[in-house]
Each structure stands twice: as structure tokens, then as C-alpha cells.
């Protein structure tokens, strides 16, 4: 099934998604990877305000390649980064903020599947498709934490039908990655028995 979603996402949107569905997202999305996650956790610990409102928001695991044209930033190439690096930090962040979508690549672990239950979804975008992704970024609205460097800063993008995204993890506890992984584990055992 195909879904066209608009940010801020609503819980009904999220509950209608099933792992394996195709989705496109329009509106505002925030990039965050390793360093921005670490800083967000630090801010939460110190009860400091985060620079953006994550309610119904979509976090994009992306370290974009940006270029300044005059006074405006433009995204040159902006595909997803490996989400698994954020596995351990994501549940702690989702306890505190009401972000409902994560876009990334490669999937996330069981703890994240649980953290997203009845609350959010994980969307997979094709890794390496940075030139294609940049075409869907209509405007760069803002940048925070740019002292972390271009890839690690928190960028605010306005996107138009960003996708096609595959729903990798849905809010009902289903993960394509877990399904594939179980098959792979069985196949792997069979292969190594040949040696």
C-alpha cells in the first residue's frame, strides 16, 4: 500500500502503516546523526530546551553535503546514513520527545522496534541515493548545532514527497529487518555447516 504523509505526523497516520508499505513524506524534517543524538541526550539530562519541536516530527538519519549559495544553504547530496549507529540512543530520546518518524537506512534493532510500538515508524530510504534525495529537498529552513560540523549538525529541511520510502518498522512491532534476519540466520547456519 502507498501512503502520502504530511508533517507533523498524527498518530492515525502512524497506526495505518504496515511494514513493507511504501510512503512519501512532505513537510519539515530534521537531520540528526551520532553527534546530534549525543547532544540531545546531554541537553535532556541538563533539562535544557532542544532547538526544535519534535512533536509529530520526523528525524532523518542523514549527514548531508551542503553548499552555500549567497546567504542560503542548499542540499547537494543528502541520502540516509546507517541507522544502526543510533540504536542505543534512540529509545532514550523517544522516551522524552514525541517524534513519530525516523528515516534512515539499514534498519534498527529490537529495542527501537519496542520504542516505536504504538508510537512511531521507521522508514527506509535507498542508501547512497544522495543526488536523488537532494532533488526532494525544496528548502533548507534552518541549521542548529553547526559547531558539530556539516554532517553532524541538525538541519531543518522542507521536503516534497520525500521517497519512495519503505516502511521498515511499523508501530505494531513488525520489522522487515527482523523477518529478513531470521531467514538469514537460518541460511547462515546451513552455509557454515558445509565447512
Amino acid at each position: 500500500m502507498e501512503h502520502i504523509l504530511e508533517t507533523p505526523l498524527r498518530i492515525d497516520d502512524i497506526l495505518s502503516l504496515k511494514a513493507g508499505d511504501i510512503a512519501y513524506i512532505s513537510g519539515e524534517i530534521f537531520t540528526a546523526r551520532d553527534e546530534a543524538h549525543l547532544r540531545a541526550l546531554k541537553y535532556m539530562k541538563e533539562s535544557k530546551d532542544l532547538p526544535v519541536n519534535f512533536d509529530g516530527g520526523v528525524v532523518y538519519h542523514c549527514g548531508p553535503l551542503m553548499k552555500k549559495k549567497g546567504s542560503e544553504w542548499v542540499a547537494v547530496s543528502a541520502g540516509p546514513t546507517t541507522s544502526a549507529r543510533m540504536n542505543s540512543m534512540t529509545p532514550k530520546i523517544l522516551e522524552r520527545v514525541n517524534a513519530m518518524g525516523i528515516i534512515g537506512k539499514g534498519g534498527m534493532n529490537k529495542d527501537v522496534v519496542e520504542a516505536l510500538r504504538n508510537k512511531g515508524a521507521y522508514f527506509a530510504y535507498t542508501g547512497g541515493a544522495g543526488a536523488l534525495a537532494a532533488q526532494k529537498i525544496k528548502k533548507v529552513r534552518d541549521v542548529y548545532w553547526d559547531d558539530l560540523g556539516m554532517p553532524e549538525a541538525l538541519w531543518v529541511f522542507e521536503v516534497d514527497e520525500f521517497g519512495p520510502l519503505t516502511v521498515g518498522i511499523d508501530a505494531h512491532g513488525r520489522s522487515i529487518y527482523q523477518d529478513v534476519m531470521e531467514k538469514i540466520e537460518r541460511k547462515y547456519e546451513e552455509i557454515i555447516r558445509r565447512f
Binding site: 541520502g79 542508501g127 544522495g130 519503505t166
Partner: protein, 272 residues
């Protein structure tokens, strides 16, 4: 050949590598797309092929991870270079970073401070070899971190030769969707601890359409896993495996597997 020729060539090579894939790489990706019947696998391979077209027509890097700069240099023995070749390469990388542009990826390993120009201690990584002739061959390989992070080295035992393919399959299985499959495997067998890793990286420079029986066997075994494009399931996980060997100590068998994402970016030029 002057200092500036090297600077400009390095800049040009990064531009080519980042915006266009070699025809051998595109050919195996097309074949992979045609061989998949799983719709999710097909849609991801289709996005990859469309992205390759978009990058070359828009002249922008195909992936935002424009890699860590790796440069291979072959210097003809009869050539006399009277300038600082390494500095010229560094200047070329800095120019490429600013003009193409490239994402500033190089950071201090502990402070994580980013100088913003992809220049730092031992970066760009420059590998120099002396060869016959009177020309200078420059090859650049911008290497992404998703695939570099799942690469592995193992000091195997001389009695474990038969298990080398098993180790390669284990690396691919542990990597799952993280390195942007379908991937290429550069496999270094022999040499020393560091030498095996170097051979593995060099193996990734080969034409990806040509494999021997051993390399095909490793590729087929890994594809049986069914990880598929982006780890979402499918037939194509490994597009090719390439082995380079070096003699090793009679008591050891170092094996390194360097994983490369589908964007196997390389470009070469010869200067006289």
C-alpha cells in the same frame, strides 16, 4: 608535469569518481536489477540506477558520504619529480572539497574536531608504489564509512585455508544492511596484519566484471544469505569479490575483507 598539474588532476579525479561510476560497476548493477523479482529489492536497485543518472547529469556527488580520500600513486622509475608530490595531492583534495564540493568527513579520531577541508594527519591517505616507465598514475578512491565500518581482518591459522570463504560470508552476514548492499568485497590474503588490509583495499580497484572461480564461489555463497539490496531481502547482496594475495609467514594466514558499497567510486589518470 608541474605541481599544479597534479593538484588539478586530483581535483578532476575526485569530481569524476564522485559523480560518475565506472561502466563496469553500472553494468553489474543493471544485471542485478534485472535478476531481482522481489519488489522491494527492485525498487531499491531502481533508485540506485536513477540516482547514478541524476548524479552524472546534475554533476553532483551521487552520495552525500563523499568518503575519506584514498589515493594510489604509481611513479614510473624513470620519472624525476622535483616538487612535493604529497603536498600537491593534499592541495588537490582541499580544492576538490571546496569546489565540487565534498562533504568534510575527516576529523581528529579522539576530539572529533573537523577541520572542514578533508586534510589531516595521514589524510588524504596516500599509497605510493614504484613501477616501470616514465609516467605518473594517480587513482582516487573516495571510501564511504558505512562499508568501511563493517570491514574486518582475522589472523587465521595456516590450517584454516578452507575456511576463508566462511570468514567472508560471516563478514557479510554481520554487516546486514549497514554497508549499503549490494556490495563488493576486496579480500586480502596473506602478507602481514597491515599488509592484508592494504591488499584488500587494492583488490577493490579491479574491473568488477571479471572474477575467477574462487572469487565467484565466495560471491555465490554470500548471496545465498538473501540479505538483498539495503538489507531488505533479495538475491543480490554481493556484486563481486576480488582477491589479492601476498606471501606470508609460514605460521600465519592474515585475511582481510574490505567491504565496499554499491557506489564503488574510483577514477584514474596518467600524467607524463
Amino acid at each position: 608535469m608541474e605541481y599544479d598539474d597534479v593538484v588539478d588532476t586530483v581535483r578532476e579525479l575526485f569530481f569524476r569518481a564522485e559523480t560518475q561510476l565506472g561502466e563496469d560497476v553500472v553494468e553489474v548493477l543493471r544485471r542485478a536489477y534485472e535478476s531481482e523479482d522481489n519488489p522491494v529489492a527492485r525498487s531499491n536497485l531502481e533508485a540506485i540506477l536513477r540516482n547514478i543518472d541524476a548524479a552524472s547529469s546534475l554533476k553532483v556527488p551521487m552520495c552525500q558520504d563523499t568518503g575519506i580520500p584514498v589515493v594510489f600513486v604509481e611513479i614510473g622509475r624513470e620519472l624525476c619529480i622535483e616538487f612535493d608530490l604529497k603536498q600537491a595531492i593534499r592541495d588537490g583534495v582541499e580544492k576538490a572539497t571546496e569546489e565540487i564540493p565534498l562533504r568534510p568527513n575527516a576529523v581528529h579520531p579522539l576530539t572529533r574536531k573537523n577541520p572542514g577541508n578533508n586534510i589531516g594527519i595521514h589524510i588524504p591517505q596516500i599509497n605510493i608504489d614504484l613501477v616501470d616507465g616514465d609516467s605518473l598514475k594517480l587513482t582516487v578512491m573516495p571510501k564511504g564509512a558505512g562499508s568501511e565500518n563493517v570491514s574486518a581482518i582475522r589472523m587465521m591459522l595456516p590450517s584454516e585455508i578452507e575456511s576463508i570463504p566462511r570468514f567472508a560470508v560471516e563478514v557479510v552476514k554481520n554487516a546486514m544492511g549497514k554497508p549499503c548492499p549490494p556490495v563488493f568485497l576486496g579480500i586480502g590474503i596473506g602478507s602481514t596484519f597491515d599488509g592484508a588490509a592494504k591488499l584488500a583495499k587494492k583488490a577493490l580497484l579491479r574491473d568488477v566484471r571479471e572474477m575467477d572461480d574462487f572469487e565467484k564461489r565466495i560471491t555465490d555463497l554470500a548471496n545465498e544469505l538473501g540479505i538483498g539490496p539495503m538489507g531488505l531481502g533479495g538475491r543480490t547482496t554481493v556484486l563481486g569479490s576480488f582477491v589479492e594475495i601476498g606471501y606470508c609467514h609460514t605460521a600465519s594466514l592474515p585475511v582481510a575483507v574490505n567491504v565496499q558499497c554499491w557506489a564503488n567510486r574510483r577514477a584514474s589518470a596518467i600524467l607524463r
